[in-house]
Symmetry: C3
Subunit: 333 residues, 3 copies
């Protein structure tokens, strides 16, 4: 924990104004810490911030449907007093008919003060960020980055443990294709002092470039294991992901492995009483419904924290101050 | 008409807070009466109530399109000062992809303060109501219930006659499959003292369980007739429904019967000068356009009253008081 | 320029209240001038007008998608403090199922204070305007009129030159099928004193009825030419449109002509330093992206001015005064 001078705090805040966030690398660790503190402030001061973005307009440009993410961005703006325009599916939109993303975004810049965009193609958010006259937040582009999901994950960990460092973080299931997992690992590595327990079948192991990032961090470590049941006892955080049948070469392997990666009350009995279970949702069957009532289940809380982080991010990029928030308080990093 | 003590009125009101409304059986007759009085109050005090739900968010989760119903729910919340998020068609939404209704509703509970849901499957609204942390209003589930349509019908009758009892209520057309008809009959039976004139071809007669409900009421009576022209003269209320060609075994029967169930100016001449014509809309050809300008045509007014009742219901379930409304005034029942 | 008495100004303004705008012929030139002055006032007084339409609801009934137009209408209402309901595609809506446009619009009149409608069929907006109890603005009906696009065009010309008369206006590309071009010419003819340079291939010449309108104006003149490069030097305004391949009888003609009608930096070098380039968007390749950074490129500014004119129009038809606006100031015509 470090304490900031008023000038430092003001600088970190002012440098967020007008920025686009395509990946979390667009934010410094100080800025991420500031957003986490803002999320925490907003959670406890919803009434105070409800006019922070009065008169602002968010455009949600969702070229593919992602209802959960779209409603989270929209709720965040509405809870800050702003308004929302947009579309939820390019197939019902005329924007894609022969018009470049750049042109669409330049048009929408004349309507909205900030844009949240989701697009099936990697790189679309970056193109949009370059073209727009207003901040663009990436709400997911292809197999690529989805920075506000990671902010939701970090805030949930922070809320449960009071910190995002000095933790044993287990990640379980499909660690090869799950972009949320990669982004969370990479971001935790920037803050340091995390031991990762990577729990997956051989077919779905963490890619080498992510392992490299852990090793390059200097302060983080990892182990790769196959079995959730064996590993669960040591974890502070368990981040579950879905194991999709399509990822396996044959059905026998899938059936053999599937249950290993399903979290149920029996496995929860082996876990610490303070462990937090996260999941980016939607869940299919990888977490048993019986686990939902366990106080360690944090995945619905995580949805709420994602919305709070989007409130923190939207207001910060717009340069709208949160009444009563003191940016010079200590930073959690 | 009965007069309530302040405590009674406050109790009826407070017991609505946080409730879900899947069918009208979820509401007591006192609560329905309170909602009718609120609808009436809102109609005459739109300016006073326009900030009653400031800062609230309604989620409209429409798994099948129903533009009329959705816009009514949304307008109701906006006219109370709240905001709206949601989707209008599950096919443009990602919510249904392998996620249970329970999970979707639990996610949305983190965004919205109240949910209005429409779903093609019977029972979906009940599942949602159990899972949600916020009130759920059923906006129609399959062939099942659609309670706010019935509230619209009741309020229209109340507004035209000052009462919903001691009336002769004709229901005309498809009385077998029309869920709005069944719900209206069942609810009027709870208040009592209505004589129903059930006007339909034999192929589309009122189901036995609905007749049973009339008989069980003790104070209501009914007659079944084939001919609108013969019956119209005795009616206070005429509730029209559509006779769909597909319901008939052969086209000859359909063609023979169709005109019998079309309301036109000639038939209107036989009706009382105070009769009220209701219809749940959309109408196809079962009410001639020439009838629209007749002051007895109440079906567009009914749309407005549906919106007013949704304002009454949404604010009540949220526990948001209507400024100036006195819940101790006499109840119309 | 003429100066109005307070009474004249108030009359022009009051006669707009409750009107529907299906074509620009629904507005007098005084009313168009008033709207241009209001657009200019709004541009410089966004903070003052942001509560002008508090509590109002706009319904956007878009029977075919037109994201750009819909978001412009919606943003306009939100920036005035109002709310928005509606649908963006009739295929996701239930409104069209067997219900007449008249019935739908009468239903929606019970929800909204004003309607913006787009429909694939010519005449749909006129039908809606007759049926509605609230003002209807045509957001495009078939190959027909799109009056708010023309208001955007006029306001952009007005903003660049301080007038919409005494100008040389070039229109380039498809002058046969482009409805925006015809509407702009017809409206400029009502104000008079414009010389039109009609730049198109023979296959896509301006229709005779539009030429007739120029000739009937008395004060306007025109010339028809084939080559943009030859004509560009004399233009104050260059209105670009797309030349669609499908319009040509054979591909050779298309390929031969296409480049003639593409605006690029080389052609811009031949133009006046004050020329304004307009385009209704979306553009495909008829304006090179290199032109975007030229200060004479006015097509993204035109998007913003379209939104401002929709603010002027929506508030005027609703009868909501713009705080601080003086309707007696001189009229630009």
């Amino acid at each position: 924990m470090t304490s900031l001078t008023a000038q430092d705090g003001a600088d970190i805040e002012s440098q967020l104004i007008g920025k686009s966030v395509v990946t979390l690398d667009d934010l410094t660790t100080d800025q991420i810490s500031l957003l986490l503190r803002k999320g925490n402030y907003i959670e406890h001061n919803m009434a105070k911030v409800r006019h922070a973005c009065d008169g602002r307009i968010l455009a949600t440009l969702f070229y593919e449907p992602s209802t959960r993410t779209r409603l989270s961005f929209e709720t965040a703006m509405l809870r800050l007093g702003g308004h929302v325009i947009g579309f939820s599916n390019a197939q019902n939109s005329s924007v894609s008919k022969g018009e470049t993303i750049s042109d669409t975004v330049r048009v929408v810049s004349n309507f909205a003060d900030i844009i949240a965009m989701r697009h099936p193609k990697e790189g679309a958010a970056l193109v949009a960020a370059h073209a727009a006259d207003v901040p663009v937040i990436n709400g997911g582009d292809g197999g690529h980055m989805h920075p506000t999901q990671t902010l939701a994950d970090l805030f949930t960990i922070q809320a449960r443990f009071g910190r995002i460092t000095n933790l044993v973080v287990g990640l379980c299931g499909d660690l090869m294709f799950g972009r949320t997992v990669h982004s969370l690992i990479e971001t935790l590595c920037r803050f340091g002092n995390v031991h990762f327990v990577l729990i997956s079948p051989d077919e779905l192991k963490t890619p080498r470039y992510v392992i490299d990032r852990i090793e390059a961090s200097g302060t983080c470590s990892y182990e790769e294991v196959h079995d959730l049941q064996d590993a669960i006892g040591k974890l502070d955080v368990l981040y579950m992901t879905r194991v999709q049948k399509e990822r396996f070469f044959n059905e026998d392997d899938y059936l053999r492995l599937r249950d290993t990666y399903i979290l149920d009350p029996a496995k929860m009995k082996l876990a610490k009483p303070t462990m937090a279970v996260l999941h980016p949702l939607p869940r299919v069957n990888e977490i048993s419904f019986d686990v939902d009532s366990d106080p360690r289940a944090a995945y619905f809380e995580q949805v709420r924290r994602g919305m709070l982080m989007r409130m923190a991010l939207e207001s910060s990029l717009l340069g709208d101050r949160l009444p009563g928030f003191d940016e010079t308080e200590e930073v959690a990093a």
